[in-house]
Symmetry: C2
Subunit: 254 residues, 2 copies
Amino acid sequence: MITPMRVSRAHSIADDLRSKITTGQLQPGQRLPAETELATRYGVSTATLRNALGTLQAEGLVEKIHGRGNFVHPPLRRTTYVGGWGTLDPRTAADAAQRVTIRTTKTTAPKEHPAALLARPEGTALTEILCLTYDGEVPHGLARTYVPHDTTSPPNVGTVTADAPCQGPAARFAVLTPPPAEVRETVCARLPTPDEASTLRIRPTTTVLAITRTTTDATGLIVEAAQLVFPADRVAAVFTSHLLDDADERQTRP
Amino acid sequence: MITPMRVSRAHSIADDLRSKITTGQLQPGQRLPAETELATRYGVSTATLRNALGTLQAEGLVEKIHGRGNFVHPPLRRTTYVGGWGTLDPRTAADAAQRVTIRTTKTTAPKEHPAALLARPEGTALTEILCLTYDGEVPHGLARTYVPHDTTSPPNVGTVTADAPCQGPAARFAVLTPPPAEVRETVCARLPTPDEASTLRIRPTTTVLAITRTTTDATGLIVEAAQLVFPADRVAAVFTSHLLDDADERQTRP
DNA sequence: CAGTGGTCTAGACCACGCG
DNA sequence: GCGTGGTCTAGACCACTGT
């Protein structure tokens, strides 16, 4: 295909700036000329130029800061969320050096959402653990974990989660009986709620990766539910599944 | 906080239209008045009104169609990608009624990306399986699967994958020896490549959920690598991990 | 063809960050 | 106060869809 392709003025400006960034002609962290300056330089109106910059912003190449300027986005520290039982590898251990703040709240009248996740009736006592991880000064992840009080002794949970709040549940629930048996994680990408956006300090228009995790013990009771939210451009989630020597998984389907 | 909050004109218009949609005052599939009409009705310029509609489009509430109008987005059939060994549940089985097109290509000079995923040297012969699933007439998912020829007999792979191209690898590789042992799936959200956008018939600015999957056999060889792409507003990915009676997973870390 | 959204202009004024 | 980006206007013209 020859693709002569009518491209918009804004599109070709975005292409030009993009190549200047990827080739290193514009260095990470560097400030771009003012929008008015760029607009005259490209011979377009400011609206058109802003449109082009908006594209690059969506691509994560440019960061716009009101009152300061447009900056070439510094190289993204892309961190990894490890799903399942969270067997840690060295790379993830390095990430764990992030700063973390935790707020634990005992709730007696659970809101609608967590109660449903936990498959408990309204009114069940539960603990909400709010966990914010930081990458340097920048919020990097938000975890809201809900633990009901009817299955487990609250003090244990408090201690354990405070030690390893954002790692897999294996370490976290090691001391509990009965031990957890299954983790189910649902991953989707969506826009953040206004709350999430302000907590993570991201624009309401930047996508987040949302992971809903429920942990079930051997008896089938849900012992933990969590809602994890990360800016989509800064994380990837990894899930590893092992097949046992005899494929017992397949027996669930004749 | 009282949040008097300066909101932009566009923002409040978006709020108004959003509530009209969520309360059913505007029905799914219904066409909105023309942008010029809405602009005069709200007393703003067309640019401002288009901005408001852009927000709703990003939220998946409105679909803009060039030359036809703006439409309230029909209820999203949110389908589920089942990770790991893909134990199917009834809900997923229903989704499998989607239409599928498949193109299989034998490649002798693999491109850079798939070769790296497969941990094979450049030049290894491999088969590329392009799989497009449809939800009605709308493309719904794109799967690019790469299978090297050095571990397995190609004919088998061809047949098996054609039968169950977008399900878990358990069914697909059941006939192979040695059987696969591990599936690793990396999930991230990003903008589509121009190719992906046109194949999936989505705007280049709509986020996709990208899943990179590698399947490893018992000897540690990667027997399959796949790059799966879905429009982010139409899928969620589910991963379920079981812990065995004795926690052997933990032994990987002393 | 008429009607729709898509792109663009050449300004204006406002809100933010910093010295 | 100054320079920056953020919002907005009142148009113009182009591109697409349906009749």
